[in-house]
């Protein structure tokens, strides 16, 4: 309980509620200082502290609320007074008061400055023109996003870590993006020349236009005063609609300077190892401070250390462990390029040695710095940062393998990758939160964490920059295995295999029979039985996906396959709550002729069906009895309609926007591409349903980034996004490849889909699959774009076979009296309609007349159909 404040209550005033400020408050609360002290926070921004490190994820769909670092009731719970949008303007150290912009004045016993940094904008003419931005706050991003709507080209001044992140964001907003860097290479602070070359090659390959070794001399403006281009120091000019300055940051030490506190030569409030300034009542932490080692740290982890140090010093008079300096490891989070640097990356220690591996073709560059005794001091990884987590944690120790073995790629004489098992217990796994291997192991063994999210919650590891999540997972698995916990990854009670394993078994052995698979590969107790409702449709879908390859019938209702399909597939329609069915004809790309619209209307009218436009750009006809399905489809097939597979775990729709043909903004024919894609992948059976969309420009009217595979037109071709999802757990899709030609686009989608079908779990949408996929997006890109597994041609040929063998299920059904025989309500009264399927009128149409239930209302199913747990 916070203390009621009186004039005598000791008061702490915190200036700046950024990442470090918030951590400081948490550290104070953990030490119960908030219970006996009044705590006042002055926050300049209009919102409480948020995750600045993850700022760019705003562009991949994280909302400002999701970025927040401040739990809703944290301030109230600890009685902390937070003043938003009210920066401190004046310090009076003699009177010990702080005055804010609003005029509020607070007396303090202890003052903590956590004012962070401001982006440095070089004093070039035109720097304040409309269209010039910096990249530091959520407000900056909102402004950039808004302005980018009317822009085509963007330019980032500065090719450092943040500049490249900003460039990635502009690129993601659909702008043709330039980066101008004064140094001769990108990320000059983190990488050396060789690394810079590899980075340049990869980024240029991704469409970024990089200009190194040249400065920005002037921002040029058009007649209306807004940005039109920049003039470079080599005399050249680049046209651009928008400029983002990312030329470094400067500590915000103005308040301290104004009241005579000491600052470093290059800025930063000087502090001692307790983070105390020259005035014992004043502390400075985070990016605004120059630490006792003379450095200003522009990273969050050292800031957090300083927050802990200052809180401990305030609580106990002195910090248990002072802050004397920190690791400056970094990893670039964006652009899909692996870049990591850690420890003494540039080899500044005396007598140190380099071990370098470079493959300029593949854009890979790796350098390790070791001392003469073989202790790992640091390194740089570009293009392949797989080993970052392990290497960073090994820094300062002698790795168990020779350094050259650590940088060689797998398959080039390198021994099996160095697992987390090799790390000592005190190795720091998560440097953002300073979590050691021992702590992570303890989370698994003592706190019984069995999933990565649980470990993250328990230890905080992995909740900062995220670069350690992969190694967290490996450590957790190793620990689980070591403690003998066997996780049953089996599909269901009948199979101990996963869906992916079953796929491989069916493919390799060319099994076309579920019973044979169950009897030979099922769990002992399930052999010879009828299986269950989980594995039957799963195996049915695997057989259907592989049908032409393994020699099964492509018609999902033939022979034994018929018994495997979920009821919807069994009747090629969607079951509704009163036992009736809905009918969804395919309308590729959402494009339909007036004649066909009329046919749908006539069919609906003649059969008395409820008609609704779906969320998938097509028309759903509800209320058909099972015996009405064939005559309805006879009319639809006659008019040229095909099954829309609304019932199947298969391709649903490829939505389109109207695109270049009509829309003034369109840059490609999105409707044609949507139709082509829908016709290509129609009927493809998958672990879960597949949705797609094609937008004609970056305005994204077709919502392609919420689809399993989405396509957005660019001036040069198409950008391909994958892993998007609406539904219960929405996810924005990730950019897989850019500026593709039609043929390249189709080839990558072919590979992507077949790789997903091959490796996903049952009922696992591409979004969850991608999140689970080891190596994540980078691995996916390697496999799909760079064909790192050498299976590209095989995946393409599988898809080719699917396309060649596609037949419309409804046309096939209508052609065969045996197949039609099942579409009766009663086996002993084929002509009789089901009298329990009844309707009543509503809004000029019908709705189900539901029978009164003797039971209570149905409990909703225990899980969403879309989740993989029964």
């Amino acid at each position: 309980m916070p203390a009621p404040s009186t004039a005598a209550t000791p008061t702490i005033v915190l200036v700046g509620h950024g990442m470090v400020g918030q951590r400081f408050l948490e550290e104070l609360a953990a030490r119960k200082v908030t219970e006996r002290t009044r705590v006042v926070v002055l926050c300049e921004e209009p919102r409480p502290a948020y995750d600045r490190v993850a700022l760019t994820s705003y562009f991949s769909g994280r909302t400002p609320d999701e970025l927040s670092l401040t739990a809703t009731d944290f301030m109230a719970e600890h009685g902390i007074e937070l003043y938003l949008d009210d920066p401190a303007e004046h310090l009076d150290r003699a009177a010990r008061t702080v005055t804010a912009r609003s005029g509020r004045t607070f007396r303090y016993d202890t003052l903590v400055l956590a004012t962070g940094s401001y982006p440095f904008v070089p004093p070039v003419p035109g720097k304040d023109a409309r269209g010039c931005f910096v990249y530091r706050t959520i407000e900056d991003l909102l402004a950039i996003e808004e302005y980018a709507k009317s822009a085509h080209t963007g330019l980032v001044v500065g090719g450092g870590l943040l500049g490249l992140e900003a460039a990635g964001a502009l690129d993601g907003l659909g702008l043709a993006t330039h980066v101008v860097e004064f140094a001769p290479r990108l990320m000059p602070v983190q990488v050396d020349e060789g690394g810079g070359r590899a980075l340049l090659r990869t980024l240029s390959g991704r469409g970024l236009r990089v200009h190194t070794g040249t400065g920005t001399q002037e921002v040029l403006t058009g007649e209306d005063g807004s940005v039109s281009g920049v003039r470079l120091s080599d005399g050249g000019e680049l046209a651009t609609d928008l400029v983002v300055f990312s030329a470094g940051v400067r500590p915000r030490d103005a308040l301290a300077r104004a009241c005579g506190l000491g600052v470093g030569e290059r800025g930063g409030i000087t502090v001692d190892t307790d983070c105390r300034t020259g005035d014992p009542a004043v502390y400075a932490i985070g990016e605004c401070a120059q630490a006792a080692d003379g450095r200003v740290y522009g990273l969050v982890a050292p800031g957090y250390e300083m927050a802990r140090t200052a809180a401990a010093a305030i609580a106990d008079g002195t910090a248990d462990q002072g802050f004397t300096g920190a690791d400056r490891s970094t990893m670039l989070k964006l652009l899909g390029v692996d870049v990591a640097s850690f420890g003494d990356a540039h080899g500044t220690a005396a007598d140190c040695l380099d071990v370098v591996y470079a493959d300029s073709r593949a854009g890979v560059y790796k350098k390790l710095v070791v001392d003469p005794e073989g202790t790992l001091l640091g390194g740089i990884l570009v293009g392949d940062a797989e080993a970052y987590g392990t290497l960073r944690a090994l820094t300062g120790s002698k790795p168990p393998l020779a350094p050259e073995q650590l940088v060689l790629p797998a398959g080039a004489g390198a021994p099996a990758a160095l697992g987390p098992a090799a790390l000592p217990d005190e190795a720091v796994i998560c440097s953002c939160h300073n979590v050691t291997k021992a702590t992570v192991r303890g989370a698994v063994t003592e706190h019984r964490c069995g999933t990565v999210p649980e470990v993250k919650k328990c230890t905080k590891a992995g909740t900062g920059c995220g670069s350690c999540v992969k190694i967290l997972g490996q450590l957790m698995d190793a620990e689980l295995e070591a403690s003998g916990i066997e996780v049953d990854k089996g599909l269901c009670g009948c199979f101990a295999h996963t869906r992916q394993e079953l796929y491989e078994i069916v493919r390799a052995l060319r099994l076309t029979s579920y019973q044979e698979l169950l009897d030979t590969h099922g769990r002992e107790e399930a052999r010879g039985t009828d299986g269950c409702e989980t594995c039957k449709p799963t195996v049915g879908s695997i057989i259907a996906s592989l049908a032409p390859v393994i020699g099964a019938s492509g018609y999902v209702l033939d022979g034994e396959q018929a018994a495997l399909q979920d009821t919807n597939d069994h009747f090629l329609a969607n079951l509704q709550r009163n036992g009736s069915y809905s009918v969804v004809p395919r309308i590729p790309g959402g494009e339909i002729t007036p004649e066909n619209l009329i046919v749908i209307g006539e069919v609906a009218r003649d059969f008395g069906l409820y008609t609704k436009i779906t969320g998938g750009q097509r028309i759903d006809l509800f209320g058909a009895r099972v015996d009405q399905l064939p005559p309805i489809w006879a009319r639809l097939v006659d008019a040229g309609f095909e099954s829309g597979h609304a019932y199947g775990k298969a391709l649903r729709t490829v939505k389109s926007c109207v695109g270049q043909t009509w829309c003034r903004y369109g840059v490609q024919d999105s409707v044609r591409m949507a139709i082509d894609l829908e016709l290509r992948y129609r009927g493809l059976r998958a672990p879960h349903k597949l949705k797609s969309a094609v937008s004609g420009c970056a305005r994204e009217c077709a919502e392609a980034q919420s689809k399993d595979f989405g396509v957005i037109a660019t001036a040069q071709g198409w950008n391909l996004y994958v892993g998007g999802n609406g539904g219960a757990t929405p996810r924005h899709a990730d950019l897989l490849a850019q500026d593709l030609s039609d043929a390249e686009l189709v080839r990558l989608i072919d590979r992507f889909l077949m790789f997903y079908i091959r490796t996903a779990d049952r009922l696992e949408r591409t979004a969850t699959w991608l999140d689970r996929l080891e190596g994540g997006l980078d691995h996916l890109r390697d496999v799909v774009v760079h064909d790192s597994l050498g299976i590209g041609p095989e995946l393409e040929s599988l898809m080719g076979t699917h396309v060649a063998h596609y037949r419309d299920e409804w046309a096939e059904t209508l052609d065969d009296p045996d197949r039609l025989a099942r579409f009766v309500s009663f086996v002993n009264a084929p002509g009789a309609p089901d009298p329990t399927v009844r309707f009543v009128p509503e809004r000029d149409q019908i709705k189900p007349d539901l029978p009164l239930l003797t039971l209570g209302p149905p409990r909703t199913a225990a899980t969403l159909e879309g989740t993989a747990i029964r």
Partner: protein, 121 residues
């Protein structure tokens, strides 16, 4: 006494499936209309509906077709399976399982379906 289950002789085209009602055995359909692992619905003289299933060994089962959780007559369209050696059908609507021999709902003890004796003649 007939057991609740009977073996179908699928090869005998004349064989038909019969259900025991109060007034005696009622013929439903030729045995080969039943696909192993799937069900069909049949209409009884009093308007009730029955869901008829055949498992892979040829055993037949019959339960009320009405899904007690939704009120819809759809159980015949559910998937058949075995759990702990006992046959069940999973409702196609909300996936509750029902024991095919006893009619007991495996997800809710308080719910029981009517089950019928079946034979092939």
């Amino acid at each position: 006494m007939t057991s609740r289950t009977a073996t179908a002789f699928g090869t005998r085209a004349v064989a038909s499936v019969q259900l025991r009602l109060e007034e005696g055995w009622f013929t439903l359909c030729p045995a080969e209309r039943l696909l192993p692992g799937r069900g069909v619905a049949a209409l009884l003289p009093d308007g009730r509906q029955v869901a008829l299933f055949r498992d892979r060994t040829g055993r037949l089962y019959a339960v009320d077709n009405r899904d007690p959780f939704s009120g819809a007559a759809v159980l015949s369209r559910g998937l058949l399976g075995h759990a702990s050696g006992r046959p069940f059908v999973a409702s196609p609507l909300l996936k509750q399982r029902f024991d095919l021999e006893s009619g007991h709902c495996l997800d809710d003890d308080t719910v029981i379906l009517t089950s019928y004796d079946v034979r092939v003649r």
